[in-house]
């Protein structure tokens, strides 16, 4: 009798492992939603950047404008709004300023101070700025949409290094090695470039069948985990150091915690992820739930 019961338990647990345990674990928990205020609602947020645990900025393509949010008590409130001279392809925080990559006017613009003031960073002729990342060397990595190359720029916009990467790069992030990761949307891939800027690895991202992955946002945390925003599935893929999927978060949908054609991601110093939920007209915060609580 005991043996038969043991056999049943074994079969059931094997079955449930095969049926339900095959996918990566869910490792993100929804933490908060930022929607702006009644007079300054977020409409089409396309990019986000975080300055601290209490301050972040969001590009809204509706006007277009940049909204700075500050945490007051337990809620996030809009503290500043500034119109953008053109449409932004990306937004980063470089330690002292938010820097937007303004594609339509072909320049980078830094926003700093209280209230926000802008400083233009001229780019070399013929560069059409796309995805942007902060470089630990004290400048930026920029995808040139026209030249289909990644440029390392100093803070004045002068090119220090460049590499051809091909078309359809939708996000960049620098790694601690000095290399970088590039999201290639139409291939559903993340490509790794080493410190010498040579492509060394290609990570094929799993789609949410039958929809293939369409990566549009990248972030790397202090432990080396990579977060990839999959626009089509509304998911965030969490990758281990060699590109294997360590977990997933969110899903496509309307309710809080779900994403609708998200388009950008940033990490707060405390580890919270902030995602530009373009279709949902909001930004959403998530925390890693497989690592204990975040402050």
């Amino acid at each position: 009798m005991m043996m038969r019961r043991g056999l049943v338990v074994l079969v059931v647990s094997l079955g449930s492992t095969l049926c339900f345990g095959a996918g990566p674990p869910r490792v993100l928990t929804w933490a908060d939603t930022l929607q702006g205020s009644a007079d300054l609602p977020l409409r089409w947020p396309t990019a986000v950047a975080a300055a601290s645990n209490e301050e972040l900025a969001i590009v809204d393509a509706y006007d277009p404008r940049l909204l700075r949010f500050r945490k007051v008590g337990v809620s996030w409130q809009v503290s500043d709004v500034i119109s953008l001279a053109g449409h932004a392809a990306d937004l980063v925080y470089d330690g002292s300023a938010y820097v937007a990559s303004l594609r339509t006017v072909k320049e980078l613009v830094a926003f700093a101070g209280d209230p926000l003031e802008e400083r233009r960073i001229n780019l070399p002729p013929n560069v059409v700025p796309g995805s942007l990342a902060v470089s630990a060397a004290g400048g930026y990595l920029l995808f040139d949409l026209r030249g289909q190359r990644v440029l390392r720029l100093n803070r004045n916009g002068q090119v220090q290094q460049q590499v051809a990467v091909g078309a359809h790069v939708t996000a960049l992030v620098e790694e601690s090695s000095g290399g970088f990761l590039a999201a290639v949307a139409d291939r559903g891939q993340v490509r790794r470039y080493n410190a010498n800027w040579r492509a060394t690895e290609t990570w094929d991202l799993p789609g949410a069948a039958p929809v293939p992955a369409w990566p549009v946002g990248l972030a790397v945390d202090t432990t080396g985990s990579t977060y990839v925003v999959d626009r089509h599935s509304g998911r965030i893929l969490v990758l281990a150091r060699r590109g294997s999927v360590a977990g997933i978060g969110a899903n496509q949908g309307w309710e809080p915690g779900l994403l609708l054609f998200p388009s950008g991601i940033a990490i707060l110093p405390n580890g919270l992820l902030v995602v530009a939920d373009e279709g949902g007209g909001r930004a959403q915060l998530f925390r890693r739930s497989d690592r204990g609580s975040t402050p």
Binding site: H87, P210, P256
Partner: protein, 413 residues
């Protein structure tokens, strides 16, 4: 008791499992039994038979008693074929897999019992391919036809199962072409002195047929037709003869300024167009339609926006906006002012075709907020654009659940 059960089971299974163990003269001729009822539609009289049919081993593929699969097959059709035709496993690992192969629908092309064509093909050459690739009939109407195509020899250039080359080609386009058209001096001469030996010939020449001489594609770009290649390229004797004299958008913008500006300035750019990469979609030499696209628009879009996903709707129960629909009816190819490159606000865009539904509907628009995320309600709040799990393309397979997701007060009544 247990012994008796085993004996009865053994006796029942004997006809299926024990055929070869029976002494000569007592063996069961499975094929003969089956043929008492199944005449195989004349397959036995055909020129070629599938080996198991020839050997009367129907039970290699069919279970005589019961099966979970149609036709009492032992396994799903594709998996069943692979048990003997193991080389198909390698085919499945290549980058381009013919859709029927990927879907295990071997019988789209092959007869399972017997037929008059080698490989048990249902038809030969273009007659077979044309049953799915209906565009072949259009190509057949054109005045100039490439010899292999005219002769119906599709497999001269295409692999039937899979390939590492696009369009299931047997090799790179240049390599296939040079098999018949050697890269000698005359080739260079015919191309204004440019070294085209390694170029992709199909970029300008239609490998099937064309109404134009030289098998040029439907529309020829004026600067290309003039033969003055240096309008865009460096000279044929320069170090990098195919290099452009300026950036692509600057070149294109000389004549197509409005479109280039529209692409570069769009708030929501089509990724390549936003960077002025016009040639991602357009062929600057000769292309399809007035837009000189690289290929038909329905095929062009899905070359990046993978058809295995949203468009084919393989995973959705209800598939919408497929077939002859042109993506540019709803999406702006050069980029637009709205997310997802929608040509208009969703309500008006959907309403432009769905006029009936537009007249009586759930309240929509700026003043009606979706309680789930606070954004204005649109048709897309409830309906999928490309595919959906529910009837009428509703996002929820269970309509009630979808409604109650917002109208929670009704659920609590």
């Amino acid at each position: 008791m247990r012994v008796a059960t085993l004996l009865i089971l053994g006796w029942l299974l004997l006809p299926v499992a024990g055929r070869s163990d029976l002494p000569p003269g007592h063996q069961i001729d499975v094929g003969a039994i089956c043929l008492d009822c199944h005449d195989l539609d004349g397959a036995l009289e055909a020129r070629f038979q599938h080996l198991p049919v020839q050997q009367g081993q129907c039970d290699d593929c069919h279970n005589p008693h019961v099966s979970r699969f149609a036709g009492l097959l032992n396994q799903q059709p594709g998996s069943l074929c692979i048990t003997c035709h193991g080389q198909i496993r390698n085919d499945l690992t290549k980058t381009e897999v013919h859709l029927p192969v990927a879907q295990g629908k071997c019988t789209y092309c092959h007869l399972p019992h017997g037929g008059n064509n080698r490989g048990l093909l249902v038809e030969l050459g273009v007659e077979l391919c044309g049953t799915c690739h209906t565009e072949i009939a259009v190509w057949k109407e054109r005045r100039n036809q490439h010899a292999p195509f005219a002769q119906g020899r599709c497999s001269t250039c295409h692999e039937p199962h899979s390939s590492s080359e696009p369009s299931l080609l047997v090799a790179s386009s240049a390599r296939i072409c040079s098999g018949c058209h050697p890269a000698d001096g005359s080739l260079r001469e015919a191309h204004s002195g440019y070294p085209v030996a390694r170029a992709d010939c199909a970029q300008c020449h239609d490998p099937h047929s064309s109404a134009r001489d030289g098998l040029f594609r439907e529309t020829v770009h004026a600067p290309f037709a003039s033969g003055v290649c240096t309008t865009c390229h460096l000279g044929p004797d320069s170090r990098d003869p195919f290099a452009l004299v300026s950036t692509i958008d600057q070149l294109c913008g000389k004549c197509h300024g409005d479109q280039v500006t529209e692409s570069l300035q769009a708030p929501f750019p089509h990724v390549p167009a936003g960077g002025g990469q016009c040639t991602e979609c357009h062929n600057p030499h000769s292309g399809v339609g007035s837009g000189m696209l690289k290929t038909d628009s329905d095929r062009l879009c899905v070359s990046c926006h993978n058809p295995g996903g949203a468009l084919s709707g393989e995973g959705g129960r209800y598939v919408t906006h497929t077939g002859d629909m042109d993506c540019t009816i709803c999406h702006q190819a050069h980029g637009g002012e709205r997310p997802l490159l929608f040509a208009d606000n969703t309500v008006d865009l959907c309403g432009s075709c769905h006029t009936h539904e537009h007249g009586f509907t759930h309240p929509l628009g700026e003043d009606v907020r979706d309680p789930r995320n606070g954004v204005p309600m649109t048709c897309r709040s409830c309906h999928g654009i490309h595919h959906a799990p529910g009837e009428r393309y509703l996002h929820g397979a269970d309509q009630k659940e979808l409604c109650l997701g917002c109208h929670k007060e009704i659920g609590s009544r």
